[in-house]
Amino acid sequence: MKKQIKQAKKKISYRTAINQALHQEMERDNSIFIYGIDVADHKRIFGSTKGLLEKFGPKRVFSTPLSEEALLGFGLGAAISGLRPINVHMRVDFLLLAINQLVNMVASYHYGTDGKIQVPLVIRAIIGKGWGQSYQHSKSLQSFFAHIPGLKVVMPTTPADAKGLLIAAIRNNNPVVVLEHRMLYDVEDEVPIEPIPTPLGIGQILKRGKDITIVATSYSTVEAVKAAQILGKRGISVEVIDPRSIFPLDEDIIIKSVEKTKHCIIVDYDWTFCGFSAEVESRIYEKLSNKLKSKVLRLGFAPTHCPCTRPLEDEFYTDAIKLIRSVEKKLKLTRTDLSKETFYSYENKFRGPF
């Protein structure tokens, strides 16, 4: 294994980490510009684009008309002409207005020029949750994006990755969709001060364990780590894998973990049907079919639309409680006493409206 170089780190939020990546990268490379609805308004995309306008001016940092399709095509046009655009969407749901450009144009441009033209384009889109976001402010769609050849898709879950993956996306000469989670914006953790890219296609182990593997994406990692902590108290050792990058996918990290634990739950932050969880499950069976001690379990969004009201919304998502119950069932454990545990700390802290 490569020796880890020690980096100076500082505890900052996910939001600040994104902001820092943008400041540092835009300072490094004049060809980077950032644009989208409300990028330069007083709210600055939940604070993530704070200070950019003042530092880099309106030529490189600007708000736009509500014209998602044209503006993604505009970004593609700029990306093939010497610039490195970052197109921002306050919700992934709004990016759907630009799906023709994303799927028909952006994804196939390099291929459709026989490799003569590269597309260094970043699309930041934010996933909403809680406080009544309902069914048009809460989609994640990573399975859909990753289904399209030519697109890279990442889902940072820690502040360090929010910074590192964004830097890697900006420096990559392919279109990269970066799916940030709104509810992770206030999470604080140690983040390298210097701009260091997190390589695309390398997963990470969020918590080491030996009894069962949970593969979790985006906000589901929060629930998975919570479940692992609670189960840990009664001696159940859960390994939590965060692929970070949906495509390219670090298959090895998943296979190695499941080979060790022989039990696996995939909790994808998306619908399960035709989804990323099915992709991961099939890869596990292809490699480890005879070595598993139990069937792989897939969890995700309920197969319907996300409701506004909190009691139903809680049912829609797979939370730590459901995960704990699933682990117990899989490992044939007695029910853990959860009466003294607190859940939904993010949801309870989050104040809307947006």
Partner: protein, 324 residues
């Protein structure tokens, strides 16, 4: 450019397009050029006139009906025919076919088979040119059907808002696939709407490439002087069916009389008459035409005898792999 030189230049481009497509028509039904062709026949005056007037280093974007645009810009037919035959010597090694002809080396940066979808790219390209302090112009060609798409209006708005050097070239043949404008438009006059934008508007009904050249030159100057986009509204008649090489006047949605009226002012015919006016002899014209026909025939034969791409080509260039 003196007038004779200009007309010769326009004629060469227009005739190359016509000769190429005539050869396609002769052989398409042999079922070897397996690619949906949207023929340019009838629009030669527009692409020749506009492309000749564009300043050097201009960038261009087009549509799936871009045989004419590609040939007018590159004036090459080897890669063109090879692409039609799906051969490794083609524009995209056979991966694109008739609907994806482009040539980055000539500034032809984007051709798309989805109506309207290269329009915002042209605006982004123009933005990049301004950003990088280049003085070049970006021209985007699209049909009147594209004006029905929201992305056209979004793109026009952005270009006008930012005062970008974009030449919007609307090639209006009055039909979107088979649907005439009368049953598609809830407004009276397209050009009058566009005049409300911060955009210079130019329009003509002519099929005369020389007039189109002059009008385009004026549009280009206005972009450079006023620092805002220009919209060029040009009309032509699509001689053949929407896709394919046959006439479709028997299908009932349009009348052959229309075609016959437009054919009287056929762009090739007009240019040939101009050459005669300029005292270019019949012999010289025939020689010129034969030279172009020879080029096209050779390209066609080379394409037929070229190899198909190796299977190893399939996955190449899905991603750019040399970064990070």
């Amino acid at each position: 450019m003196n007038r004779k030189k200009l007309i010769l230049n326009l004629f060469k481009k227009a005739y190359l397009i016509r000769a190429t497509e005539k050869l396609i028509i002769k052989h398409y039904d042999n079922n070897e050029m397996k690619t949906p062709m949207h023929m340019s026949m009838g629009e030669e005056g527009i692409v020749s006139g506009v492309c000749t007037a564009l300043p050097k280093n201009s960038r261009t974007f087009g549509t799936y009906r871009s045989h004419g645009l590609y040939l007018a810009i590159t004036q090459e037919s080897d890669k063109f025919f090879a692409e039609m035959y799906g051969k490794v010597t083609g524009v995209l090694k056979g991966k694109g076919g008739s609907m994806h002809l482009l040539s980055p080396a000539h500034g032809l940066l984007g051709i798309s088979a989805v109506v309207g979808s290269t329009i915002p790219l042209a605006v982004g390209n123009a933005f990049a040119n301004v950003y990088l302090k280049k003085k070049d112009i970006t021209a985007v060609f699209f049909g009147d059907g594209a004006v029905d798409e929201g992305v056209f209006w979004e793109s026009l708005n952005i270009a006008c808002l930012k005062g970008l050097p974009v030449l919007f070239v609307c090639e209006d043949n009055r039909y979107a696939v088979h649907t005439p404008w009368q049953v598609r438009r809830g407004y009276k006059n397209l050009v009058n709407i566009i005049k409300q934008y911060n955009c210079s508007v130019f329009e003509t009904d002519t099929t005369d490439a020389e007039q189109i050249y002059k009008l385009t030159s004026r549009a280009v100057s206005s972009i450079q002087k006023k620092h805002q986009p220009a919209f060029l509204h040009l009309k032509y008649y699509r001689y053949l069916e929407h896709v394919g090489i046959h006439e479709d006047f028997n299908t009932g949605y349009r009348d052959k009389l229309e075609f016959m009226n437009w054919q009287k002012k056929d762009p090739i015919k007009l240019l040939r008459n101009k050459l005669k006016e300029l005292k270019v002899s019949d012999m010289e014209i025939i020689k010129l035409e034969e030279g172009i026909s020879k080029q096209v025939t050779e390209s066609f034969q080379n394409a037929k005898s070229a190899s198909f791409p190796d299977s190893s080509e399939l996955l190449k260039n899905t991603f750019y792999e040399k970064t990070n």
